[in-house]
């Protein structure tokens, strides 16, 4: 507790620190925003809440880290991860997801949870339980007498995340498939009647999400750390983001992603790193609680 108070007073006495945390939060938040967008996409189009989202990210991260071990610069991990995860998404869609879409929501939740466990444990077996990070060997810049540090890695991560997000958004707006996806999200039956192959749309959406996660994972490996079981934390984190913003509200999801990044930076600083998991879970419960109170005004339940 004293530690916490001590940390808060540091923030109060040195306001510039807050700026540092804010910047870091936004930089990291960009990756959250990207991955949250993918989650919201799958949720909105197929009504599948992908509990394995964080684990897809970890796959991307470990791929990048492995590339780093082989001497290839981690930045190349992004395209590699995108391609590999796209294929993994394809396989998973065909074998599992397509069979649970038409079922009740708990089934799809459990199915993705099973996938999450398989992924986590496979990574653990292959790479061991240690935390890893891909070294990008890029410069760090300091401001304000060393009180604020901005690593080029994080900045590049931010730029890439933004670029990827923009690419996806543009795709959704302009391309045929993008339109088909949005149509299906609004009303699958109507889309089918109008000749859209919803099966293809679902498949594409799921693969797209996997690829987004792969890219996010590659960035995470450079900017932060990866660990076999860190996936769950990401999944919960992203779920909180999408729930708080509402999955149909895509700009909101992106904003909430950034917000989450900032929140975690401050929270991590004040409470300490060991509480990361606890903090996120607490946030989840708070978001669900708030949603309930909101719905109560309309006498509905959180569906």
């Amino acid at each position: 507790m004293d530690q916490v108070i001590g940390n808060i007073s540091i923030l109060e006495s040195t306001p510039i620190f807050n700026l540092g945390l804010l910047i870091d939060g936004l930089l990291i938040g960009s990756i959250f925003a990207l991955a949250a967008y993918g989650l919201a996409l799958v949720w909105g189009v197929m009504n599948v809440k992908n509990l394995a989202q964080g684990d897809f990210i970890m796959i991307g991260g470990y791929l990048t880290w492995s590339l780093g071990k082989l001497g290839i610069h981690p930045l190349f991990g992004v395209p590699v991860a995108i391609v590999v995860l796209w294929c993994i998404g394809f396989v998973l869609y065909r074998t599992v997801i397509s069979k649970v879409i038409e079922r009740d929501l708990f089934t799809s939740l459990l199915a993705t949870f099973g996938i999450a466990i398989v992924i986590q444990q496979s990574i653990n077996l292959t790479f061991g339980p240690d935390t890893q990070s891909a070294n990008a060997d890029l410069p760090t810049w300091s401001f304000a007498d060393g009180l604020i540090t901005v690593t080029a890695t994080r900045l590049i991560g931010f730029v890439m995340a933004v670029l990827l997000a923009l690419a996806v958004i543009l795709f959704m707006k302009k391309s045929r498939m993008g339109q088909a996806i949005r149509a299906t999200a609004q009303d699958a039956r109507a889309a089918r009647v109008l000749g859209i192959d919803t099966e293809k749309v679902y498949q594409f959406t799921f693969c797209l999400n996997a690829a987004i996660c792969g890219a996010a994972g590659a960035l995470v490996a450079m900017v932060w750390t990866v660990q076999p079981f860190l996936g769950t934390t990401y999944s919960i984190r992203l779920f909180v983001v999408v729930t708080a913003a509402g999955f149909g509200n895509l700009p909101g999801v992106i904003a909430a992603g950034f917000g989450m990044g900032v929140f975690e930076q401050f929270g991590g600083f004040i409470l300490g790193a060991e509480f990361q998991q606890a903090l996120i879970v607490l946030l989840l419960l708070m978001v669900l609680g708030t949603r309930q109170l909101q719905q109560l005004r309309f006498r509905q339940a959180v569906q």
Binding site: D104, T107, L109, G114, I117, L125, L284
Partner: protein, 361 residues
């Protein structure tokens, strides 16, 4: 479905089998004891999930609460808990036989009551969530429980608590805990057999089938939901107390609040055996536990991957569960439940809204 009351032969057969098992298979006493624990897990999960339609991923929370409550009571009645947890590795603290048994007995009762109390309070927060939100919310509660205990020094934080040692030979200890777990499972089965035959059973089934309709008909849905959670929590709490002492050592993330093992097993067992039936969870628990015990060692290293695959397989291919499938195949055998049903429910054309072929009761 056959009921388990003193009037039915099932009651006596089960009682006999349960008591005789450790005598017939003394080497497997512990495994069968855990089987009874699994049956408790699956039956309590089914109250909420199968019978009432609220799929919880956080039932293990009550198991852990019970475990810790019992430990604190057992120790706290005679010693200072904080000192005990701080010093248990260096000093050996002795409990007399009397202290052990009274502590354990009172602790177990306290465990059930404390879990029930938590459930009563939690019901105000948790039942405003439906479907997947409920699942994830309850999972969050379970994880929060683990994390909170792991950071609370008074109860040993992440290192856990070493419980008082059982005064007696290892043989007696095995039998003692076996009988306790069997007893709890048996009582639970008899209790639920009665409970589902009352208005309570109809009410929670109605909530499962159409909660809005039930509300519109004036049913006290909140009261029934609260009662269901409290009942499940009560039994889970006592089970936690028993298991904690059987293990001799409790630890927040893997023993008290095992969110990725027992917590998920209970769902799988019920899905495997058949949701919403009295015997489905039991059958599912037996099949699951036996398979797991037999194959676990073969899959060493790969166990959890196998578990993940199993989850996916069960969820995708075993929709009705064994008992559900049987009820559909041989409806006449299950007389007393709703008679032959024509599968007139057309598959919905919109995604995610298809009703799943249900079981009669």
């Amino acid at each position: 479905m056959s009921s388990v009351s003193p009037r039915s032969p099932t009651f006596w057969l089960l009682l006999l089998a349960g008591v005789a098992a450790p005598l017939a298979f003394p080497d497997y006493t512990n495994q069968i004891a855990v089987l009874w624990l699994m049956i408790i897990f699956s039956l309590t999960w089914d109250i909420l999930g199968g019978q009432m339609g609220y799929n919880s991923l956080g039932n293990i929370f009550f198991f852990g609460v019970g475990m810790y409550t019992c430990a604190v009571a057992q120790i706290g009645l005679f010693y200072d808990v904080g000192m005990y947890t701080a010093g248990s590795r260096t000093t050996h603290i002795v409990f007399s036989d009397f202290q052990y048994f009274t502590g354990f007995a009172l602790g177990s009762i306290a465990a059930g009551l404390m879990s029930a109390a938590f459930a009563a309070v939690a019901s105000f927060f948790v039942f405003g969530l439906r479907g997947p939100y409920f699942a994830i919310g309850t999972l969050g509660v379970a994880v929060a429980g683990a994390e909170l205990m792991a950071s609370w020094d008074w109860v040993g934080a992440a290192s856990g608590i070493s419980l008082p040692v059982f005064p007696g030979t290892p043989e007696t200890q095995k039998l003692f805990f076996y009988l306790l777990l069997f007893g709890l499972a048996f009582v639970l089965l008899v209790f639920l057999s009665w409970l589902y035959s009352t208005r309570f059973g109809l009410a929670i089934n109605a909530i499962r089938d159409d909660e809005e309709k039930a509300e519109a008909m004036g049913l006290h849905t909140r009261a029934y939901k609260r009662a269901a959670l409290v009942i499940a929590a009560f039994f889970l709490g006592i089970a936690g107390a028993l298991f904690g002492n059987m293990t001799g050592f409790i630890e927040p993330r893997d023993i008290a609040f095992p969110t990725t093992t027992f917590n998920i097993f209970m769902v799988l067992m019920v899905l495997l055996g058949g949701k919403g039936t009295l015997w489905g969870p039991v059958v599912g628990a037996v099949v699951f536990h036996v398979i797991k015990e037999v194959t676990w060692t073969y899959f060493l290293g790969w166990q959890f991957i196998a578990l993940g695959v199993l989850i996916v397989v069960i969820v995708v291919y075993f929709q009705q569960g064994i008992v559900g499938w049987l009820m559909e195949r041989y409806p006449a055998r299950f007389a007393g439940s709703a008679a032959p049903k024509v599968k007139a429910e057309a598959p919905a054309l919109t995604r995610g809204l298809a009703p799943h072929p249900g079981v009669a009761e």
